[in-house]
């Protein structure tokens, strides 16, 4: 717990020292979330290159692990030693914005710079019409199928939910095999339902801001999962299977189809190199959709080096740097030029996940989101267990969510 103090002292000493040496120099403190061991060195390289071009600006990189990032920033803000810019989880942005910690960046954002971003990724950073942050990292979800099981069952990889259902019937007939891996426990149980909700044409919130769980599309999406459970097309008792449990079944070659994220690919390559898999878009009902997840680059409202910070931001978003970052960390590109590179369009694994980006959906940036997600998780578990009918469960969930939203 001495860290914030030590750091701020160090920064103070540093900036005083700098001020003494070269009074024109501006220091930009940049807190970086540690995605992997490559993150720190990468941003230091960007900073060095920037400083070579702009000797009057000093970029001060500080790498903080994800686990402690929110707590660290909170302490820094409370102690008045917040950095100038920081990478944050987009789900925190609303809290930062509503407390006046985040600086709206519309004034800095030139139309030209704004045009380099893929529009869908800008959307989560917009709060009440103001852009509060830039997308810095992105990933999307997709369907993954076990090709060996599909071949053995004489099924073709599905494009629609009907095809998935028919193929699953064939695969479930194989011995010791489950057709569809359905997550029903702990983190992101709700996301597994949103995949179905979105592709059936529904949404988490309706246009008027009320819960979308009481719509016919939401019911159809839940009914489908319930039908697959009842007919033995999923693994038994989904409520005992976390995301990792479902992925493990897939790695063992016991499941035909799962919904997953890009980070699973290196795991499969390391743990089950013989597994023949394919990445495909989510099955379609009435709509195409995928779940997009982003992290945000935020400017702090009480920063006294906003101009210099913004200069650095524009520099760091140049294509060469973004390409290096996205490839190094295994993320999907947030800028149009990088997304058009051959690596992101031709590598079947990456392209499979990247293909969904134009129509990606995001968790809404609303207050009490975690609580709303928890209501959805609980309702799905009740439906999967047969404690409520999908119709009653979803209706109750919608009214509870509306109550949390104050609508």
């Amino acid at each position: 717990m001495t860290h914030p103090f030590r750091t701020s002292t160090a920064v103070l000493a540093l900036s005083l020292g700098m001020a003494g040496l070269a009074s024109a120099e501006t220091v930009v403190d940049f807190t970086v979330a540690e995605y992997s061991s490559k993150t720190g060195p990468y941003f230091q390289e960007v900073a060095d290159a920037f400083q070579a071009e702009n000797p009057d600006i000093k970029i001060n990189i500080e790498v903080v692990p994800w686990d402690t990032l929110l707590q660290r920033l909170t302490t820094d803000v409370a102690g008045g030693s917040a950095p100038d810019i920081s990478i944050i989880g987009t789900r925190w942005l609303l809290d930062f914005a509503s407390q006046g910690v985040a600086e709206p960046i519309d004034g800095y954002l030139t139309p030209e710079f704004k045009g380099t971003f893929i529009d869908t990724f800008m959307a989560p950073g917009v709060i009440e019409g103001q852009t509060m942050g830039l997308p810095v990292a992105a990933s999307a979800r997709a369907m993954m199928v076990n090709m060996d099981l599909y071949e053995k069952a004489g099924a073709t990889p599905p494009k629609t939910w009907d095809e998935l259902y028919e193929a699953s019937k064939k695969i479930a007939a194989l011995p010791e095999t489950f057709a569809f891996g359905l997550q029903g426990k702990e983190i992101e149980t709700d996301a597994y339902y949103y995949y179905s909700l979105w592709t059936h044409g529904g949404d988490i919130l309706k246009a008027d801001g009320t819960s979308g769980l009481d719509t016919p599309e939401a019911l159809e999406a839940a009914n489908l999962y319930k039908k697959m459970i009842d007919e033995g097309l999923t693994q038994p008792s989904p409520t005992n299977y976390t995301r990792e449990d479902v992925f493990n079944l897939f790695k063992q070659g016991k499941v035909g189809t799962i919904f997953t994220f890009p980070m699973l690919i290196p795991q499969i390559k390391a743990e089950a190199p013989d597994l023949k898999y394919q990445i495909l878009p989510f099955p379609e009902g009435k709509a195409k959709a995928t779940y997009g997840v982003t992290d945000t680059l935020m400017v702090f409202a009480d920063s006294d080096a906003k101009e210099a910070a913004w200069k650095f931001i524009e520099f760091a978003y140049k294509d060469e740097w973004r390409e290096k970052f996205d490839m190094g960390e295994g993320f999907l590109p947030v800028t149009k030029n990088v997304a058009a590179l051959p690596y992101f369009t031709e590598d079947p694994d990456v392209a499979g996940f990247a293909a969904g980006l134009p129509y990606a959906k995001f968790a809404p940036t609303i207050a009490n989101w975690e609580e709303i997600a928890d209501v959805t998780v609980r309702t799905m578990q009740q439906i999967y267990l047969g404690e409520v009918t999908p119709e009653d469960g979803l209706k109750a969930a919608a009214s509870e969510i509306n109550k949390i939203r104050g609508l």
């Binding site: 909170t74 803000v77 409370a78 809290d95 407390q99 029903g184 426990k185 702990e186 693994q235 038994p236 008792s237 989904p238 409520t239 005992n240 449990d245 493990n248 079944l249 009490n368 975690e370 609580e371 928890d374 998780v377 609980r378 309702t379 578990q381 009740q382 999967y384 267990l385 404690e387």
Partner: protein, 302 residues
């Protein structure tokens, strides 16, 4: 004057200690009570007094009442089960037999492992497909289909109670063993001469003499178990569908997942008063019983 001064000397001597204890124990409770009456931001900043709003919300929440009820079952079942098993275990370990030292070590060993680790191990062991428990039961021919123990709230809660009992046994056995080894042997010898059976000895000698030790085991275990987060949190996070939530897991979710620190503070305070009420009630009951037991002797003396 001198007499009054002399009387107050002991009080004054414990005053610094008392003040320190009050500051250390009292201040957090005061702070908690203060927080529970405020609107609190996600970052822990108090943003305004709201009176009983947090309490009102908590008491209007059906999940709170379900969790409270389940906390009662959880505490009663774990403490009751622990005592029912620890008593005979302690009596066996108190008898002199070959390898007693080793047996004592084995009983105490689980104590050395953190609760969280034990819960993680059980979570793996209870896994439906890959778990050790199902594999063992299937090999032994007891079940022919794997059972998903943690998939439904009813089986998950029973399993969690059993694990709770398992981890509480070492501590309880230690207390009871301490009591048993301090017991006078001549009472038993006299009873044997009078022709008392093993059950009679247990009923009329062991139990009454063990009362203070059993009481302390009950009070301490109730406090620990009532507040115990790791087992349920690691195994099910209070799920599925909040079916295994007890107050402390519900509180944890409110505070650290939903960022509702005000409501969480209100529940903490409610939990504190429930425990306080239990302890006071229990101590009152015990001391009244002791007085009733002691009464005949005084009559004889008189």
């Amino acid at each position: 004057m001198a007499n009054r001064f002399q009387k107050s000397v002991p009080l004054m001597m414990i005053l610094p200690g008392l003040a320190l204890a009050l500051a250390i124990i009292g201040y957090p409770i005061f702070d908690l009570a203060w927080t529970s009456m405020q609107d609190v931001s996600r970052f822990g900043k108090l943003t305004g007094f709201n009176g009983g709003e947090n309490y009102h919300e908590v008491f209007a929440d059906p999940l709170f009442w379900e969790s409270l009820w389940r906390t009662g079952i959880w505490t009663f079942a774990v403490v009751g089960g622990t005592l029912a098993i620890s008593m005979p275990v302690a009596m066996i370990l108190n008898d002199d037999f070959h390898g007693r030292g080793l047996a004592r070590v084995i009983i105490m060993l689980p104590w050395a492992i953190s609760l969280t680790m034990t819960a993680v191990v059980w979570r793996w062991a209870l896994n439906g497909r890959a778990g050790l428990l199902n594999a063992t039961l299937m090999n032994a021919g007891i079940i022919d289909q794997p059972v998903e123990w943690l998939a439904t709230a009813s089986t998950a809660f029973v399993v969690e109670i059993l694990v709770g009992i398992l981890v509480s046994i070492p501590f309880t056995t230690t207390i009871l063993l301490g009591g048993l080894s301090s017991m006078p042997q001549d009472a038993y010898e006299a009873a044997v001469v009078d022709g008392a059976s093993g059950w009679d000895q247990f009923r009329h000698i062991t139990l009454p003499l063990m009362k203070p030790f059993i009481n302390i085991a009950i009070v301490l275990n109730v406090i620990y178990v009532f507040n115990s987060l790791p087992i349920i949190w690691v195994m099910t996070e209070g799920g599925p569908a909040n079916g295994t939530d007890i107050l402390v897991t519900y509180l944890y979710k409110l505070a650290f997942r939903f960022g509702q620190l005000g409501k969480a503070a209100a529940i903490s305070l409610v939990m504190f008063f429930v425990l306080l009420a239990f302890t006071m009630l229990y101590v009152a009951l015990v001391s009244r019983n002791d007085r009733d037991d002691a009464a005949p002797e005084e009559e004889i003396k008189a």
